[in-house]
């Protein structure tokens, strides 16, 4: 069959602009709808990315190795020996960007004025670089210099609570593996600031060897943190390491260690999809209405075309083409608008007005929207496919008109 593609498409485009007001209003609705889909998605992505980035750089990493009882009972007696040669060889592989070992124990810190509970973390400052927030967050004083460093680094909020400052001494109290209370004075050599700021009250840092000595734990360590290429792909990171681990140790990816954070990803993906569909349904009422009206106005004309021998298929195609053109124009403008509105915001939006509320959710007070090409394609794809489905009804009705009845309609 010689299908008059060319004519039908020209007709569809011209029909669209016969009633330019209606088309422009519908176009505006599509643009706003598409913009909101992409804008919301970028905001949500930015939020979750920031949460995950923040948490993985707060002593979480992409995966961790512990004594198998440590997570349930984070006590010094559940520590483990330093990594074996076999494990070290696996950790030197390319899929591992960085790794580090730490001592982490619950402890009490006291100044002359106040005592508080904290986590004492013994770190190797060189291995820690690029892994955790610490190196970039020192506000006053200095960073630790080596695993033997005997200085202590505290968060700004903690220092405030303790009414202590740089250069002063504080006492740290904890237990050794035999449940003897050990305590020791430390000099505060550095103060760090980070966001969300409740972290500042939780962690104090000293050299790894210093901590091991203080706690009488010999060479033992509490955890190994591993950073891979991408937080979304932990399976390929974990598999080879799992093979090389000794018995009695366990390896967990970040989403199992922090299950709240782990549940955020699927929740966000689900939410984005629901939002796109909801906006689309709200749009589709207008879309179907516009097309139905366009067909209604042209009943006589369509009758004439049918009477002259145009195939019902061509009529159907013409209505669908009109709908497709409307949708495509709206999608292009909507995507463009979303891009224009998000790019200047990518340097961050200050939302500290509700900062303490966001802290409850583990979020920092700056939001960086993240526009992904993939999300733009998803929204575009869903709108085109569902849009065509919604246009089927008016198109089908138009093609089923009977020429004689349509022609005589006034």
């Amino acid at each position: 069959m010689n299908f008059p593609w060319h004519i039908v498409i020209t007709l569809a485009w011209r029909n669209l602009w016969r009633n330019y007001r209606r088309t422009l209003i519908m176009l505006a609705a599509i643009v706003v709808g598409v913009w909101s889909m992409i804008f919301m998605t970028a905001m949500m992505r930015g939020m979750v990315d920031e949460m995950i980035r923040g948490s993985t750089s707060t002593l979480l990493g992409h995966a961790q190795i512990h004594h198998h009882l440590f997570r349930d009972d984070p006590n010094i007696s559940n520590s483990m020996p330093p990594p074996s040669a076999r494990l070290k060889a696996v950790l030197a592989q390319e899929s591992v960007v960085a790794w580090t070992q730490r001592v982490r124990v619950p402890a009490i810190i006291s100044s002359e004025r106040e005592s508080l509970g904290v986590s004492l973390v013994g770190v190797n400052p060189h291995a820690e670089e690029g892994m955790s927030f610490l190196a970039d967050s020192i506000e006053a004083g200095r960073h630790l210099e080596s695993p033997e460093d005997k200085g202590l680094i505290l968060g700004a909020r903690l220092a405030e609570r303790l009414e202590t400052k740089l250069g002063k001494r504080v006492v740290i109290m904890s237990q050794d593996p035999d449940n003897n209370i050990v305590d020791r004075g430390f000099r505060v050599v550095g103060i760090y600031e980070t966001d969300p700021s409740n972290i500042e009250k939780q962690f104090v840092f000293t050299g790894l060897n210093t901590a091991q000595q203080f706690l009488n734990m010999g060479e033992q360590i509490s955890e190994i943190e591993i950073l891979g290429q991408n937080y979304r792909d932990t399976d390929s990171l974990i598999a080879p390491i799992q093979q090389a681990m000794d018995a009695g140790l366990s390896l967990e990816p970040w989403y199992e260690i922090d299950s709240y954070l782990g549940s955020m990803l699927p929740m966000m993906d689900g939410f984005i999809l629901v939002w796109i569909v909801v906006v689309f349904i709200a749009l589709s009422f207008g879309l179907v209405n516009t097309l139905a009206m366009a067909v209604f106005e042209r009943v006589r004309e369509i009758g004439l075309m049918l009477a002259l021998g145009m195939r019902p298929g061509a009529i159907r195609f013409q209505v669908l083409a009109e709908s497709l053109m409307l949708l495509t124009t709206g999608l292009m403008l909507g995507n463009l608008l979303a891009w224009i509105s998000i790019v200047p915001l990518e340097s961050g939006i200050d939302i500290s007005a509700v900062g303490q509320g966001l802290e409850m959710a583990g979020m920092s007070s700056t939001l960086y929207p993240s526009l992904k090409i993939k999300d733009m394609f998803t929204a575009t794809g869903i709108v085109i496919i569902l849009g065509l489905v919604a246009s089927l009804l008016p198109a089908w009705r138009a093609s089923r008109l009977e020429p004689i009845k349509a022609l005589t309609k006034t």
Binding site: R22, I25, M26, A28, A29, V32, G33, S36, M43, D72, D73, P74, N75, S77, P106, A107, I108, S110, R113, S115, G117, V118, E160, R161, M173, S174, Q175, N179, I181, S259, Y260, G262, S263, M264, M267, G270, W275, V278, V279, A282, L283, F285, G286, V288, N289, T290, A292, M293, F296, I351, A353, V354, G355, Q356, G357, L358, E359, M360, A361, G362
Partner: protein, 409 residues
């Protein structure tokens, strides 16, 4: 019957399909809004209630500055007498005194630091749900005994069970060494990780003795019967306070500012989405009304030539939109309320969200709130937006010239 109303009604049914499609958009968004808003408001109520009832209470009396930097030295003197006085004026008797500090607790095997809170065992159940959440043993029942109740996670970490002994070590108010040997009489489980891992409660008198506090304490907590009565309770408590010492009375918003902010953040993002949805519906109405006005240009020309004022025609067009918006409001709110009521009765569980909900002290199952406000707020906004959207087509009528209008086909 009013003429505009009758004409408007008939005009609407000249194109039943168009009318239903436009109303359908309203119904869809109204059902969604009713459900979402009632769910949100129900969630906020639970969030506030659960978070505050566990420990913080609705109101607290403190020394100035204690809320920001809770130092042991910022005390409320003669705390038990003051609490007794406030209890009398409170009307419901839900007032209790507390003192808090920090100590290292050691069992035979383990040592952990934890918050230790001295409570009036007799009155504490009136201000906090924690005494009712004892999973093993009993709550404190006297004011002097060397006994404690502690969180389940802390008990597990310390490897202690009921009737085991714990030693506690800390520093007193004057900086002196504070130590005691206490008996575990109860273990509570609130489901809030911070509290279960970090809280130990002991009798207030014992606390004052061990931490050299004499007759002082840190906070007096009060709980209103329900949320709407907080302001009234605040007034009652303020009176005896103002003529005594320099103490401050703080409400829950000052005590846990994160809570209101979390709600504000959630509200703001939700209204952004609702706003988009409502805007889309308004576009739909604008389109429909503009079309219906344009296709009647000829007809309107004749009516105006017969002497009808454009204002009258404009009212008729507005009446058409109002009828449509009214149908959308009634049907949408009715359907939405049915959905909300169903979940209000049977609860709604969102699989995969338990962790996120636990952060805000929410249970796994949620119950939408079904008040007038939660059910009608969204549809009311849609209603107004739809009428505003038809203002443009209605105002266009003022520019209509009868002769030109009659000439148009």
């Amino acid at each position: 019957m009013n003429l505009s109303l009758r004409l408007g009604w008939r005009n609407l049914w000249r194109h039943p399909r168009r009318t239903w499609l436009t109303t359908g958009a309203m119904i869809f968004s109204n059902v969604l809004l009713v459900f979402m808003i009632s769910l949100q408001l129900g969630m906020y109520q639970l969030m506030i209630d659960n978070s505050l009832r566990i420990f913080t209470g609705h109101l607290q009396v403190q020394a100035p500055g204690y809320n920001d930097t809770p130092h042991m030295s910022k005390t409320v003197p003669d705390i038990k007498q003051l609490a007794a006085k406030l209890r009398e004026v409170s009307g419901n008797g839900n007032v209790a005194a507390r003192a808090s500090g920090f100590a290292l607790f050691s069992s035979a095997e383990r040592s952990y630091g934890a918050m230790v809170i001295g409570v009036e065992a007799e009155y504490e159940p009136g201000v906090s749900s924690l005494p009712g959440l004892i999973k093993q043993g009993r709550y404190l029942n006297n004011s002097k005994g060397a006994e404690v109740v502690l969180g389940a996670a802390l008990a597990r970490n310390l490897k202690v069970s009921l009737h085991d002994e714990l030693t506690l070590m800390g520093s007193g108010k004057d900086g002196s060494f504070a130590a005691d040997v206490v008996n575990v009489v109860g273990i509570f489980e609130t489901g809030v990780p911070d509290i279960d891992r970090n809280f130990v409660q002991m009798p207030l008198d014992r606390f004052q003795e061990v931490f050299s506090m004499e007759n002082e304490g840190h906070t007096i907590v009060a709980l209103a019967e329900d949320f709407s009565q907080i302001a009234q309770l605040q007034q009652r408590l303020q009176k005896p306070l103002s003529d005594t010492e320099k103490l401050v009375l703080l409400d829950w918003d000052a005590l846990s500012p994160g809570l209101q902010q979390a709600i504000d953040a959630d509200m703001a993002s939700a209204w952004f989405m609702y706003g988009i949805l409502i805007l889309l519906v308004a576009f739909s109405v604008l389109n429909t009304q503009l079309m219906s006005v344009l296709e009647r240009t000829h007809e309107f020309g004749i009516i105006m030539a017969l002497g009808l004022k454009p204002g009258r025609l404009g009212r008729m067009v507005l009446m058409e939109s109002t009828i449509m918006a009214g149908m959308g409001f009634v049907i949408g709110t009715a359907l939405g309320s049915l959905v909300a009521l169903y979940f209000h009765t049977y609860g709604l569980s969102l699989p995969g969200m338990e962790d996120a909900m636990a952060r805000y002290n929410l249970p796994g199952r949620m119950y939408p709130s079904t008040s007038m406000v939660s059910l009608c707020l969204g549809p009311a906004v849609v209603f107004i937006a739809c009428i505003l959207a038809s203002a443009y087509p209605a105002l266009r009528l003022y520019r209509l010239h009868p002769i030109d209008a009659m000439r148009s086909a």
